[in-house]
Symmetry: C2
Amino acid sequence: MDIETLADGFDRRDWQEVEATDDPVRFAMIGVGWWTREQAMPAVANAELCETTVLVSGDSEKAEAVAADSETVEHAITYDEFHDGEASDAYDAVYVVTPNALHLPFVETAAELGKAILCEKPMEATVERAERMVEVVDEHDATLMIAYRMQTEPAVRRAKEFIDDGLIGEPVFVNGNMTEPILELVPDPDQWRLDGELSGGCAVMDIGLYPLNTARFLLDADPERVRGTVASVDEAFDDVPDEHGAFQLDFPGHVYAVCTASQNAHMASHIEVLGTEGRVRVEPAFYPWDDRALTIERGDTSFDVSFEQIDQMEEEFEYFSHCLLTGEEPHPDGEHGLTDIRAIKAVYEASETGETVEL
Amino acid sequence: MDIETLADGFDRRDWQEVEATDDPVRFAMIGVGWWTREQAMPAVANAELCETTVLVSGDSEKAEAVAADSETVEHAITYDEFHDGEASDAYDAVYVVTPNALHLPFVETAAELGKAILCEKPMEATVERAERMVEVVDEHDATLMIAYRMQTEPAVRRAKEFIDDGLIGEPVFVNGNMTEPILELVPDPDQWRLDGELSGGCAVMDIGLYPLNTARFLLDADPERVRGTVASVDEAFDDVPDEHGAFQLDFPGHVYAVCTASQNAHMASHIEVLGTEGRVRVEPAFYPWDDRALTIERGDTSFDVSFEQIDQMEEEFEYFSHCLLTGEEPHPDGEHGLTDIRAIKAVYEASETGETVEL
């Protein structure tokens, strides 16, 4: 790859054909927590191809207050009202961002109502419920995308382009980490992420899936088996198995990924692929508020690549809306998300049994 | 830790009391391959407290030629002559740097002759032979140090000082890698590193032990159990199980280390400890020809620390010689080295059985 291509040739939106519309995709936000208010809604407001028209919340007052601050929101309804089909003429798609174990019923209702679905990752709290989600979507021939924002993140897409172009030779290892002090970020000991029933798991489930899924995306492959250990040490994590987790994924062709994740550690995130001829590293990688940076090494030469930072959520909503407007099938789909749930649950099983778990 | 201490307070040789001597430790180099000629002998020549006086080789002509180029070497003898005690008045200590599976007999003879021993890592090719080495040394009350040059490397010692001072809080994860294209570095398909009998293992044994041992040094702890996978794909590695290897070490207190090593990949090396409050990373870390660099992160602040590069082998020989001159017991000893051999062999067992192996 020449420097000109490196600088000019990258098209962060190689999927884009339509850049404006008079008929934007109208979203119902299901769940109106801080992520919806501070990340998703501003992203949709900035995007060209979509808008937020409906808020669905367990807390009517909160939803009304947020709606009052928005120029596009027409309805603020309750979860029950959503399931009753209220205001269903006012939105084309839903963004499901409730606690993990509550995703399925909203996806079911949306599919029954004929709405397209963007569902946050992990897609559900158990393998069974994730499988059921895939079935429901199939039964209704609905459109489901799992919201892996790394797959539309330019730093990661560039890294993948370098790998696909053979710049690092054949991949040998992936090394990934995501760690944060969750109780400093969200200072609430009763938050759902620490509730095993609602979350389905903590460090590995909530953030370990970033290195896991990004490894899959960069390698364009799925893991064959996993091994690892998880542990909860601090009593705040008594209800979940994994305050911390470390795991290894065996990919086809003897490519190994080693990953770490913690909800009670210094905030850091990276993903790296090391190959026979070089390596590519994105660090910071996964937090939307950190400027992403990319380093490529080949032989004795190393490049630090910096570039315009984009809003990861805007990129993701724009891509999903673009698919709906053009009739393209969006990726990653439910089957793709299900593979992660199976791998994550296999990490917990591997930790309990001490054995390698085949996928 | 204040910046003044960071800049002025580090004493890379906190062990040093004696800086010069009229009676340097005289070394017999056992094995006269490129490492001895290009790394060990120049380091000893530059050091203040030791000198090379004897060369022991399987190849008399090579040894004679190397001896002729040296100002201090008095004798070039064969392996058999060494075992017969020839020239034993001309050296005080031996540096054993033969293929792994040949270390034991030289250590045995040196111990019988009352010589101090600096033995390259891994100390031997099997657990049994490593155990026997520890016994032999005990039987003769000999002095044995295993040549882990990372433990006298200033970048690593600084990293340890930061960790010990609590700068990164409590350690949570260690992340380490060492990879190289061995057939480009040593373009000989018949080299001993690819011979399972002589080496006892390839990627994990030869270079995986760098992240393994440096993790132990930085944490001041030994692993309790291991899991992992190794594989040989390229036919050049048919005689060893591990062209590539990935493994996880569980340290006490649920501290997990994830490590990768390959003898057929892009050259790279790093070690990082991530804690509850920050992290410390040495990269490059393990190759003597790469300038080592240290990064410390605490909260939102990151420091890149650069400093004078030293000759790792000179540092190690000087430390060992200093111990002999002052009557201090050098570290790391044979028991310390044996822990690595057990852990490495457990990685191979874990890969074969798919199970976690207790240490």
